[in-house]
Symmetry: C2
Subunit: 138 residues, 2 copies
DNA sequence: CCCTACAATAGACATTGTCTAAGTCAAGCC
DNA sequence: GGCTTGACTTAGACAATGTCTATTGTAGGG
């Protein structure tokens, strides 16, 4: 559970009630929450936490590489606590649900030099889109 | 150039000065503009066009399948007039520049059934990220 | 040349995120 | 344990992007 808290403490992170709560929310959820959802859950545990603090803390966690920012829709960034295993995403076009997926193959190898236009390419994101079983049933 | 206008007219699109201007802006640019950039260029040709009209028209063009919405950063949607040839994107992490690319391989085939979680998967977006030659030089 | 339905407009509103100035507190030090 | 200090938190203003509504305008058919 609190490997995350341990790691952060070990890196000299000043531990406050607010930061602990945000880290716990992320650590406890295996879904990909928006900043607002994180805030809502954090408020449930610590009513006086402010929106700015949640944004700040999420930003710090991203900088530290403990959490990934995911942009699968335009509406809001989502935060992915699974930062330590590379993966891609499968998104429901209707309800926005996200699952982590691990496709085979290496898309980086699929981009020939002639298509790189002099860029130094360092990363690929693959987003699969479709309809989830729930939405298909409805 | 105005295959686009022709096609739209043929589909019963009611032609107005505003719509023509928006279509022309997209048709003339080979870059990927944000809604605001489209608006700015449209205003240059037709000063009294409103922001809402630009948003409406872009939305209609997307619905008609004449233009693609691209979400490479979180800030603003970008509109890609190259809707008729499938392609992916290469984005500069520093300045946001976008190039269309055509990788080999088919990422859809790289997602095994066991990783589909019952979704009906219909589409894949691949976004390569890196640093463009300009930014690398700076 | 008129109607009428569809389109455009201005501006309010909503959502998401950022910034600032002031107050508060964790953690090191004695 | 009790200071001190700089980092952290807060409320709320602000910014960027996008949506909605009520009103006015107009394209295109008769």
């Amino acid at each position: 559970m609190s490997d995350l808290l341990e790691r952060l403490r070990g890196r000299g992170w000043r531990m406050t009630a607010q930061r602990r709560v945000v880290a716990e929310v992320l650590d406890g959820e295996h879904v990909h929450l928006t900043a607002d959802e994180v805030h809502a859950r954090a408020v449930a545990k610590l009513p006086e936490i402010s929106r700015a603090t949640v944004y700040n803390t999420l930003g710090e966690l991203v900088s530290l590489g403990e959490v990934l920012e995911v942009a699968t829709d335009q509406r809001a960034k989502r935060y992915d606590p699974n930062a330590h295993r590379p993966h891609h995403h499968l998104v429901c076009a209707r309800c926005g649900a996200i699952r982590d997926v691990h496709p085979t193959g290496n898309p980086l190898a699929d981009l020939p030099d002639s298509e790189r236009y002099g860029f130094t390419v360092s990363d690929v994101e693959v987003t699969y889109r479709g309809i989830c079983p729930n939405c298909a049933a409805a």
